[in-house]
């Protein structure tokens, strides 16, 4: 039995605004195992991004406990890489410099990690682009650079907040395959947030389904699809059935009309 990397217990989040309190999360609990690809699936506004930020230690929950790698999260989680929906690359840095930001801020050996950064850029198909500025790259390339940035310090945990949500459908499929390739090679624990049912099923070992207002976790479904997965996986019966089951349960919860 693999160790639990992420442990979330009864996490609630209330934002107080001028118009009154907003309950973003209500007693959410789950655990993700080491090396697992774990997705959180739900419609917009169900608090899944809030949950990711709480796990990353960027937000403090109103109630409940979060532990990563066995230690309780009280500030930004030390060994984590984050990918947001937008690439959030710095305009004033080249692609390589953007990736190296991680190493600079963490005070790592720059020479050594430069090598690693170059290797990662090559792996995601950005070899030769390391000295380009972000504006010279397409959206998909920018997002790949930001994935390199999240991986360069070799964190055991990768948090991804709808990383491909802003990409077109074709690029998105290609990025999904690439992400799986990277993941199979490194076997990091991945917490992946998405509102696309096929994407969640295609990528994950397990999918947690969330409903909004207040955000709560309804059920966790195992995908039971063999790995490595390819485009052909999406045509398999198990895949289609799992997608159907999840869609029905979201519908039941009133998350899809």
């Amino acid at each position: 039995m693999a160790e639990t990397t992420i442990l979330v217990e009864d996490v609630s989040m209330v934002f107080s605004t001028r118009d009154g309190d907003v309950h973003a999360l209500d007693k959410v609990s789950f655990g993700a195992r080491e090396g697992e690809f774990f997705s959180i699936l739900g419609p917009s506004g169900c608090g899944k991004s809030t949950l990711l930020r709480i796990i990353g230690g960027l937000l403090r929950p109103t109630d409940g406990r979060v532990a990563v790698n066995g230690s309780r999260v009280t500030g930004p989680t030390p060994d984590v890489g984050i990918v947001f929906q937008s690439p959030v690359l710095m305009n004033w840095r080249t692609v390589l410099e953007n990736v190296m930001l991680q190493a600079e801020v963490r005070g790592l050996n720059l020479k050594e990690y430069r090598q690693r950064a170059m290797g990662l850029l090559e792996m995601v198909g950005l070899a030769g682009f390391e000295d380009k500025y972000p504006y010279q790259l397409s959206g998909g390339m920018q997002q790949r650079a930001s994935i390199c940035r999240a991986l360069v310090h070799d964190p055991p945990l990768l948090l991804m907040d709808e990383p491909f949500g802003a990409l077109d459908a074709l690029t998105r499929e290609r990025m999904n395959l690439e992400l799986l390739r990277i993941w199979e090679a490194s076997r990091k624990t991945v917490l992946f947030i998405t509102h696309s049912i096929p994407e969640a099923v295609f990528l994950s070992d397990r999918v947690a389904i969330m409903s909004p207002r207040p955000g709560h976790l309804d059920e966790i479904a195992s995908t039971r699809l063999p790995r490595p997965r390819t485009m052909a996986t999406m045509e398999e019966d198990t895949f289609v059935k799992t997608v159907g089951t999840i869609r029905r349960s979201l519908k039941q919860e009133g998350s899809i009309d």
Partner: protein, 269 residues
């Protein structure tokens, strides 16, 4: 000028838009002015011709050599002061929420004050030397720099800050790696506005009480109804203003080559 970018013109079209049109317009203006003066046989005291005004700059170059350095020194002093203190103020406001709450509303109030009117008071305090001119120049150019720089430091996306935070960054690292570089384009646009204000500040400071400087020369030529000298001085003041503007613009290009305004048109649009 921005309109030129819409159609992504080649160099030829860009040259037409940014050089030829203004040149023609200005040449036309000067010609009309010259002809008006010559045809109507206007007195030089009322309106000197552009050729007379320009030639006066060279004929009285020794006068300008005495007075221009004084004004330039005042501008540089006031402007340097407002860059240092302006960036420092913006930093303090962005760094501390309490300071932001204290300073920001006071600034809203202070920036509406017509600072030129402080000049007479400063003459009482500092006398006829260059100090009051530097202070007026500083007061005039300080606020655009604070406002622009603070806006730039605050204009960092939340995701960007979260991303740097996720790297276990210290507060200082967050500032230095994200907020500061992000503020540079804003700072420069504020600085370009401010340099014109610094020039005006120094000139007005000299209006109120001075024995040297271009502002003094303006007042002097005005009371002597020496319009030729007045126009020549205006030309020199304008040249200094343009010179400073281009200096800042050049430094901007050097400091933020990655900014939208300086990108070469290539790759993915």
């Amino acid at each position: 000028m921005r309109t030129a970018h819409r159609a992504r013109p080649g160099w030829g079209r860009l040259l037409t838009a940014e050089v030829v049109y203004p040149a023609v317009a200005i040449a036309l203006l000067l010609t009309v002015w010259q002809l008006t003066v010559v045809m109507l046989d206007l007195r030089t005291t009322f309106l000197p011709s552009p050729t007379a005004a320009f030639s006066k700059v060279f004929r009285s170059y020794d006068t300008f050599l005495t007075h221009a350095p004084v004004t330039i020194f005042e501008i540089v002093g006031g402007y340097a002061l407002s860059i240092v203190l302006g960036v420092a103020t913006a930093f303090v406001m962005v760094w501390s929420r309490v300071m932001e709450k204290i300073v920001s509303p006071i600034l809203v109030f202070l920036q509406t004050i017509p600072y030129i009117s402080v000049a007479p008071l400063l003459i009482i305090w500092f006398g006829f030397n260059i100090a009051p001119k530097i202070v007026v120049s500083f007061l005039m150019s300080y606020f655009p720099i604070v406002v622009a720089t603070a806006a730039g430091m605050n204009a960092v996306e939340n995701d960007m800050v979260d991303m740097v935070r996720s790297m276990s960054a210290s507060k200082w690292q967050i500032f230095w790696k994200s907020r500061f570089p992000n503020s540079l384009p804003y700072f420069f646009s504020g600085a370009k506005v401010a340099v014109a204000f610094a020039t005006s500040g120094a000139i007005v400071g000299e209006y109120v009480g001075a024995d040297y400087g271009l502002g003094y020369l303006i007042v002097l030529s005005n009371s002597d109804t020496n319009s030729e000298l007045l126009f020549a001085t205006i030309i020199v003041v304008s040249a200094i203003g343009i010179g400073f503007f281009w200096l800042i613009h050049w430094m901007e290009k050097l400091c933020i080559p990655w900014h939208v305004a300086f990108r070469e048109e290539e790759g993915h649009g």
